[in-house]
Symmetry: C2
Subunit: 379 residues, 2 copies
């Protein structure tokens, strides 16, 4: 059955019609599927809130996956793909419904990752510190995620590459767009050296201010913590830090001279009501973010994904063997659930990232049902 | 009666015989008086623990108060003097039993004060920051307390003088000793411009490493909080910070470049188990230390001084009018306590800083009995 690929095609189309982070769409996708939502948009179903906005771009030609994108080794991932980074689920209704990816394997790259972000107009101090920090983090097996911009971002990517490590650039524009122009060779090097370019935006999408803000939640959600190296009082890096905090991920700051406007944002974070911890080297960063990996040791305000499943879905999920693939029909028997219902439930579990489709049927994604759901505090 | 002056003479002698901070001596003084303890030392009373050490310096000639010291406008203060800074009581048995003072009125100067301390081998950044901070603190009516050393200390004193403010140098040697030699004119200027030189050590005492450590607790106890501007990993300023923390006073640090060894001590304090707050300007310092002034608003782990008094002493204290002086005999009648006992209790209250002797009798020291006793945690 082509469940995941039908869903992929539908979500690819949705990526053209809807700006990322649309929580109304996210809520609809959680209740049904991309195919269903797309059909309702195309049918101008007025019961779908916001449908008139979603229809505004219906005249756009379909994205040609075979050419414009895959020429760069690009692909469109959806939840349910083996390469999908399930930690993005923490974004809830604002989670991306698909990601354009170029370069290395995203899930593996992001599994043990830290965001290193900061000002474009960085000082020499900031560039030096970001580069050293990224070099040392990468040398210890941590991927460095940043935004591909000038200044701190570029220093972070370059630092990780310098020690042969993995670095991920989460972009606010099409993954085929070179922005800034001066980073054409940085992006090419990153992609060719095992790094990853990732974007919610279809190929060709140009950057805008709101897209940078949307992108920031991806940086925060992919990683186990965010380090702000240099930030002025109104830096976009502070927005990434706020997104990380809402997700319950550690926000860390590098201190600097109090006489430097580029460190003022870092110091303000460190003096806030929920003070950011200051860090002065890679081992201190790892000390802070490493904890998040130990889910079992942490208090759990909202429970695990499995606790959020309805009893029938849970029976289907638990009926699935841990190691070997199973067909939907065999699973229905094993779980004692009606075969037609089982098909729908399995597809939903695939989309939720709990089950993966393989040629011989379906397998459970190890550990996915034990992912901790974190409370999203008000902004 | 010459109660306080007898006590002053005895404690002056004790300042020669015993190094400051001796908690055994402090405990004896709390139980009796300087005169009694001195008599026991002179009589070689073996029931006084450590008496053999205290006797080692008995051959020293008495300090000549009329000449060597008062030539500089110096005086020897003891608890009970109107000029005694009662906040030193928080040191408990380690509180100084007397202070050599040169310059302005110590109690008034120290009432609203902040310590600004740091490395001798400061960087230009540190010197600049300490100077600016002290200038702004002094301009807002806060006295700046430091240790008179090169580097951060000197910048703090000079900054306070620059805005016509009050600054106090707490010294680890005789207040008539110019150490370092290069600070002869700084000390003279400080003393002549309303500042204060203060020391537990008799005139002529030379600095030693242990004396610097003893001095640090005076800096911490005189002030409402300690700001460390620059400190290497083993800086003496960290010792002052630890003393402030034991007293429950805020420890604040100025961040700096993580590439600077002179900021490493500050950053370590900010990352400790009880993280020091970072501060980037004078208003942030005042925001942090200003709280301590609002005693009524703060939880109070050990209660107030009045709660520590035995019932008879409390009756004597409360029998004393708030505004006018009263004789010991009148007070005995008023409090309903035996006249002989009242005399002893009043003297003890004077030594504890709760009562002051004036020509016409005794007056209560306003607010002293409401001073909060803070828990001293283990070192």
């Amino acid at each position: 059955m082509g469940g995941v690929d039908d869903e992929r095609a539908a979500r690819l189309r949705l990526s053209q019609l809807v700006e990322p982070g649309d929580e109304r769409l996210g809520a609809e996708l959680a209740k049904s599927s991309g195919s269903e939502v797309l059909a309702r948009i195309e049918a101008n179903d007025r019961t779908l809130r916001g449908v008139e906005h979603y229809r505004a771009r219906l005249s756009l030609p379909l994205i040609d996956q075979g050419e414009a994108f895959s020429a760069h080794g690009g692909r469109y991932l959806v939840p349910g793909d083996g390469e999908w980074p399930t930690q993005l689920m923490a974004l809830g209704a604002a989670a991306p419904w698909g990601l354009f990816v170029v370069g290395g394997e995203l899930r593996a790259a992001a599994a043990r990752s830290v965001a290193v972000v900061g000002a474009r107009a960085a000082t020499q101090y900031g560039v030096h510190v970001a580069s050293e920090l990224a070099t040392d983090l990468a040398a210890r097996g941590w991927a460095v995620v940043s935004g591909g911009a000038y200044g701190i971002d570029a220093a972070a990517h370059r630092g990780a590459l310098a020690s042969g490590g993995v670095t991920i650039a989460a972009l606010a524009f099409g993954a085929d767009v070179a922005y800034p122009r001066g980073h054409v060779s940085l992006f090419a090097r990153l992609r060719d050296d095992g790094g990853v370019l990732v974007s919610e935006f279809p190929p060709g999408t140009t950057p805008t201010k709101p897209r940078f803000l949307l992108r920031n939640r991806i940086i925060a959600a992919l990683t186990r913590g965010t380090v702000v190296v240099e930030a002025a009082h109104r830096s976009g890096a502070l927005n990434t830090a706020a997104a990380a905090r809402r997700l319950g991920r550690p926000v860390l700051v590098v201190p600097g001279p109090i006489t430097s406007a580029l460190s003022a944002g870092c110091h303000r974070l460190a003096r806030g009501d929920e003070p950011a911890r200051i860090v002065t080297d890679a081992s201190e960063v790892i000390e802070e973010v490493g904890l998040i990996g130990e889910l079992a040791d942490r208090p759990d305000p909202l429970g695990r994904v499995r606790d959020a499943l309805d009893p029938t879905s849970l029976r289907v999920l638990e009926g699935m063997p841990a190691e070997t693939a199973i067909s939907s029909a065999d699973l229905a028997v094993r779980a004692g659930v009606d075969a037609a219902a089982t098909g729908g439930i399995v597809l939903r579990l695939v989309v939720a990232g709990l089950v993966r489709e393989v040629p011989s049927g379906f397998v459970r994604v190890p550990g996915a049902a034990d992912t901790v759901l974190r409370r999203r505090s008000a902004e």
